[in-house]
């Protein structure tokens, strides 16, 4: 397929696009929340900041209960290489560091820092940054790391790692697809803050030394594309090799691997990363956050979140501080709590149904979707799988969802991995089209978590085996030693003693050969 592509705002040439297998066309429900411009959300009384809002190790608190903190101050440092620091989103007092409900499918609690805001929103002293063009890529990455920026497109992967490719990057892609229904935060961001996004793009381009940049937008967002084109014209001099690509709206075109396939024709190898094929992909909001961090020294403290759905009277996008309780955001958009049945953080296809209404907004929370009674067909009666193959036709990864379902059902975890379970991106296309209403993704999540837990158990078992064997050897050695000592005490060596001595020698030799640690306890 070929589409018109604009460069520097002018139609330049037709660019070839590819397509991915499967996918589904979804009703958009996007107009409702794009009527109103983005507004700042009211400052909440309390901010609840989970220590783990990203992939990787949780952050470790560097403040104590009772500490006064300022807006932008680090309150938790990264807990490892793949981790991100946490900043106070507003000024106030740390009132608790404990378990608190967080947005997670389990509905369980996790460690959080709770801050009581003082209403003054006082900034910590910010380092004024110089022009990014004078910064080395390594410095840019460090700044981004310190700013606690994680991917805002969904997975929450610490952004600085992706910017450390160690390989030549041919293509840098900004993901503005926003393929999920209802969500419009990226759309609004592109409409209203196109310049910030472009500047972020330029910074990232410098960090990864990319040769070519693409901004991919689904063709149902013409306003966003228009706004970005305008912005592109404004940065004329830097706009070389930056293209805006309109891609057909088909869920999940925004999935990283699918998007890369659509715009480059290349497939990220299974289990591999985009860098392997010379591509880096970031969400548009991540780019905007990078811009703020590098040019204004602002860490990631807020994000745009779409509040929409049947129970919300005024669907719209709010610029909200990370840690704001979702109830306050819902109230701000005049939600009718009487008809509210469910709140989903994220979109209807991949979001998490919130099990607890006390949870806060987190860095990856792009949408709060309210479901009123009878709005969506909720959880209809499950029927047996009739192998119709609809699911396989819809799967963007060309998996066989029905086979994985059968094996998950039977808890045959070896077989299910033969069907490449771990290539499943949990997009939900299969479950969406299943005529028998089978919660397919649920089965895959079940299987994945079981397999991970088994692997963990296996790892523990291996450690236990090793420790047990080491102990056995040690005991044998000690026994042998005791025997030799015993033998030495009685010089008139009997046969028995001789045998014990030989035994001991053999044991020692064995222990030595097997590389047992010399003496541990």
């Amino acid at each position: 397929m070929e589409v018109a592509v604009t460069q520097n705002g002018k139609r330049r040439f037709a660019m070839k696009l590819w397509s991915f297998h499967g996918g589904v066309e979804l009703p958009g429900h996007k107009q409702e929340s794009t009527i109103r411009p983005v507004e700042p959300a009211p400052l909440p009384k309390r901010l609840i900041l989970p220590l783990s809002q990203h992939l990787g190790a949780p952050a470790e608190p560097v403040v104590a209960v009772g500490d006064k903190v300022l807006k932008g101050q680090i309150i938790a440092r990264p807990g490892g290489f793949v981790s991100a620091p946490l900043h106070a989103s507003s000024s106030g007092t740390v009132v608790a560091i404990d378990e608190h409900a967080v947005p997670h499918p389990s509905g369980l609690s996790a460690p959080c820092i709770t801050i009581e805001t003082d209403g003054r929103d006082l900034w910590v002293e910010r380092e004024q940054q110089t022009d990014y063009r004078q910064l080395e890529p390594a410095d840019i990455r460090e700044t981004i790391r310190q700013a606690g920026i994680v991917g805002l497109g969904g997975a929450g992967f610490p952004a600085f790692i992706k910017l450390n490719p160690g390989k030549t990057i041919k293509t840098l892609i900004l993901n503005g697809a926003e393929c999920e229904p209802y969500i419009t935060c990226d759309d609004m961001l592109m409409r209203e803050q196109a310049d910030e996004i472009l500047r972020g793009l330029l910074i990232i381009r410098r960090a990864v030394q990319a040769q070519h940049c693409l901004i991919a937008i689904e063709d149902n967002k013409p306003e966003a594309a228009h706004s970005l084109q305008k912005a592109l014209q404004r940065i004329e001099s830097d706009a070389d090799n930056i293209e805006i690509v309109m891609i057909p709206a088909r869920y999940p075109a925004g999935g990283e691997k699918q998007l890369i396939k659509v715009v480059t024709g290349q497939e990220v190898p299974s289990g591999g990363l985009p860098v392997q094929i010379g591509v880096v992909c970031h969400n548009v909001a991540t780019a905007a956050a990078v811009y703020r961090a590098v040019e204004h020294g602002e860490p990631l403290l807020s994000r745009i979140v779409t509040i929409t759905g049947g129970a919300v009277a005024e669907p719209r996008n709010l610029e909200a501080l990370i840690g704001t309780p979702v109830m306050e955001l819902l109230s701000a958009c005049r939600t009718n709590f009487n008809v509210l049945q469910e709140v989903i953080m994220g979109g209807p296809m991949m979001g998490i149904a919130l099990a607890n209404h006390k949870v806060p907004l987190i860095k990856t929370g792009n949408c709060l979707l309210t479901v009123s009674h009878g709005e969506m067909e909720q959880h209809p009666a499950v029927q047996p799988c009739i192998r119709c193959g609809n699911c396989a036709d819809a799967c963007p990864v060309s998996l066989l969802p029905q086979q994985m379902y059968w094996h998950a059902r039977a808890k045959d975890f070896d077989k299910i991995q033969e069907y490449d379970l771990f290539d499943c991106i949990e997009c939900g296309c299969c479950a969406y089209v299943c005529p028998s209403n089978i919660p397919l993704v649920h089965y895959y999540r079940f299987a994945k978590s079981e397999i991970r837990s088994q692997q963990e158990q296996k790892r523990k078992a291996d450690i236990a085996r090793e420790r047990h064997e080491r102990r056995e050897q040690r005991l044998a050695r000690e026994k042998a030693e005791r025997a030799t000592r015993h033998a030495r005490k009685k010089p008139g060596t009997t046969d028995e003693n001789k045998r014990a001595a030989i035994q001991a020698a053999v044991e020692r030799a064995k222990a030595g050969k097997q590389g047992a640690p010399s003496d541990d306890v």
């Binding site: 047996p384 059968w406 094996h407 039977a410 045959d412 077989k415």
Partner: protein
């Protein structure tokens, strides 16, 4: 040429050893829980069956018949088979411990796989020559392996089905084998005579 093709069609489809002639049922039911195992067993049986039908032909033609001691046929054949199997077993044990574990007790059971003795005896009964004997043995084994593999793939699916408790396991497997043999009736008449 046609004659050889007919032997193959006949042994594989029309007179399938397992589903029509009722030979080799125990390994058919015993080693069909997993597709991979079934494929291994199919290969092992094909090897043993072809080899043993050749060997029995030779023993019959050059030892039993000249001496006029055809009544020792069963013993001689079973001895040949047992030796071929035992030999195969030792070789497999050495070269592929995994296959050995998987085939487990079924390698020795190939000896008593009636199909093997059945083929040897039927070869004599039908006055097959050397090539015919080899083909007959190979065809019988190929027919066995074909249905074994398909049966195993079906059983993997049935294993995860919502089968009523009393029917789980061998019961539903036998019923499935019955329905397979029902389907194989469709081949009857393909080779007349």
């Amino acid at each position: 040429m046609t004659e050889y093709a007919l032997i193959l069609i006949s042994t594989i489809l029309v007179n399938n050893f397992v589903l029509v002639k009722f030979l080799g049922l125990c390994p058919f039911l015993g080693v069909s829980k997993k597709l991979e195992t079934a494929i291994g067993m199919g290969l092992a049986t094909t090897f043993v069956l072809t080899l043993s039908s050749i060997c029995s032909y030779l023993v019959n033609e050059y030892l039993l018949s000249p001496l006029g001691i055809e009544y020792l046929r069963t013993i001689a054949f079973i001895l040949v088979i047992a030796v071929v199997v035992q030999f195969t077993e030792m070789v497999v044990h050495k070269t592929s411990p995994l296959l050995y574990r998987v085939l487990g007790i079924f390698l020795p059971l190939i000896t008593t796989n009636c199909a093997v003795l059945g083929v040897a005896l039927l070869n004599v009964q039908a006055d097959h020559n050397f090539v015919q004997s080899a083909l007959y043995g190979f065809g019988a084994a190929a027919g066995f392996s074909l249905v074994l593999v398909m049966f195993a793939a079906m059983r993997e699916r049935i294993e995860v089905s919502d089968v009523p408790t009393a029917f789980r396991g061998p019961a539903i497997a036998l019923i499935t084998a019955g329905l397979m043999s029902l389907a194989f009736i469709g081949f009857s008449g393909l080779v007349k005579g």
